[in-house]
């Protein structure tokens, strides 16, 4: 029962900042949509190998996108990076390349206008990736303990079952991970409206509690500006009575641990504990919805250092991600039967009374360790590497947000 009995030492890829990866991939990153095709052609020629496509499509500069790309390209699961620039976009490719180089990772930039167009750039990129793949085989391995893992969670394609099977089970897995010293990250403040006081009471300091509450209030305001309704009549039909009860669906993924901090995209928890990721931009709404889809949230969890993402779904999502493996936990037993190839864990068993929430929580915990030790998750083995990054703006977190 106690996870300490079965928390083995894994092998990680040791990076210069001391963090350890559970994967060792090359990212090919386009710095504007105009370089996307060239980047994709390069990645496509390494099918089945650990070469992932990420990028930022915008031509105008954005500090958030800058920071996200920096954190993603220096993520512990990343062994090296190839940057694809058209040549005239605003993205500061020099600063990004320098930041990556400072970590000791192989990095190169192909500027399409300077290289002589599409074909030559694809060829140059492929040549570089080939040698980089050989180079990163040499990355030193080091023992990786559970207390060095960062695990994020997100839900998508939710239905009435999500909140009563998969999400509480992830909460149990989070409790076990925190008990073992891992850092865990939950998010979706926009779906925690009504629970801000309950959540604040779990903060390790009153000042952090105040920050947690403020983040939910910010989300409530932001979503109101977006015209996003909180409680629909269909919710009541499904058995949900109050906004608090609806919000439990997203909230209970956090488990029962105290909340150690509030972070924003790109902030990396350096200590064990449970963290809330505030994904809602600061200031008046400027660039539209906080996150346009589930993968935008996943990318932010990864930018915060997540080695693995626990993704709960009721209706059945199929997505994975670049850089970090996504473990899919299916809440609805019927969806699981229909889409089992895409699902790593069947939490629908809880509703069929074939397993308890605790048992599925333990199964998720074991799955995290399996995937961390190299086993592919379903979305990984199916080749899913979705990635989205859009415009946003954030103020830095205040001193009360990370009290420990």
């Amino acid at each position: 029962m106690s996870p300490s009995n079965n928390s083995p030492t894994l092998q990680g890829f040791l990076r210069s900042d001391g963090r350890k990866g559970i994967r060792n991939c090359i990212v090919v990153a386009y710095l504007v949509e105009c370089a996307h095709h060239v980047a994709r052609e390069i990645v496509d020629s390494f099918r089945g190998q650990s070469v992932h496509l990420i990028g930022f499509g915008g031509c105008y500069p954005n500090a958030y996108a800058d920071r996200m790309m920096n954190k993603l390209c220096t993520h512990p699961n990343v062994g090296g990076a190839l940057l694809l620039s058209l040549g005239c976009e605003s993205f500061n490719r020099h600063r990004l390349a320098e930041a990556i180089a400072r970590t000791g990772r192989p990095v190169s930039t192909v500027v399409i206008q300077q290289t002589g167009g599409t074909r030559k750039s694809i060829d140059a990129g492929k040549t570089w990736v080939e040698q980089a793949l050989q180079q990163i085989v040499e990355v030193p391995r080091a023992p990786l303990h559970v207390n060095e893992l960062v695990v994020g969670t997100v839900c998508g394609g939710s239905d009435a079952t999500s909140g009563i099977s998969a999400n509480p089970a992830v909460g149990r897995a989070f409790d076990m991970l925190v008990e073992q010293g891992a850092a865990t990250i939950f998010e979706e403040t926009g779906e925690m409206i009504g629970l801000e006081n309950v959540m604040s009471a779990r903060a390790v300091t009153p000042e952090l509690g105040h920050e947690l509450k403020a983040s939910v209030e910010k989300a409530a305001y932001y979503y109101k500006q977006m015209g996003h309704a909180s409680f629909a009549p269909g919710n009541a039909e499904g058995g949900l009575t109050t906004i608090e009860e609806k919000s439990i669906g997203a909230y209970c993924k956090s488990g029962d641990s105290p909340i150690s901090g509030l972070i924003k995209p790109g902030d990396i928890p350096r200590k064990s504990g449970l963290y809330l990721l505030d994904v809602v931009p600061d200031g008046e709404p400027r660039f539209g919805f906080p996150n346009i889809n589930d993968n935008a949230e996943i990318a932010e969890l990864i930018a915060c250092g997540s080695h693995v993402i626990l993704f709960t779904t009721g209706r059945g999502s199929v997505v994975g991600s670049a850089i970090s493996p996504v473990i899919k936990i299916c809440a609805n037993p019927e969806t699981y039967e229909r889409m089992s190839d895409d699902m790593d864990v069947n939490a629908g068993k809880i509703l069929r009374l074939e397993a308890s929430v605790d048992e599925v929580g333990e199964e998720i915990y074991r799955k995290v360790l399996e995937v961390a030790s190299g086993a592919q998750s379903c979305s990984e083995s199916l080749g899913h590497q979705e990635f989205v990054l859009t415009y946003k703006s954030f103020d830095p977190i205040g001193p009360a947000c990370l009290p420990m």
């Binding site: 079952t161 009575t241 906004i243 509703l351």
Partner: protein, 105 residues
């Protein structure tokens, strides 16, 4: 297993919960044992809905998944359906199109 009662239709999610989740359709006339009380359900209750795990006094906070989801508007006996008619948000009034929607009687 975290089910309660004899029917195995009622699921407890969290140890602190005051509600049990209906995981198989409950029919009017079905009998069960909840918190030591012999209960006869007076109505059909759909999957995903909830019933009281114990006798709940008027004004008491009601917990689901270990979290308060509102307060009891009236005394709710163990096994009774909990919904809009007997539970209110402590946060904001729940608006619905029509409460008969959920066959609450």
């Amino acid at each position: 297993m975290q089910t309660e009662g004899r029917s195995r239709k009622l699921l407890r999610i969290h140890r602190d919960d005051d509600v049990l989740i209906v995981v198989a359709p409950v029919c009017a006339g079905d009998q069960d044992l909840v918190d030591g009380h012999e209960v006869v359900f007076t109505q059909n209750i759909a999957i995903g809905h909830k019933v009281a795990a114990r006798d709940i006094k008027a004004g008491e906070k009601v917990y689901k998944c270990g979290v308060p989801i509102g307060s009891a508007k009236e005394m709710i006996p163990a096994g009774a359906h909990i919904h809009l008619h007997n539970l209110k948000s402590d946060y904001i009034v729940t608006y619905t199109l029509d409460k008969d929607h959920v066959s609450v009687k």
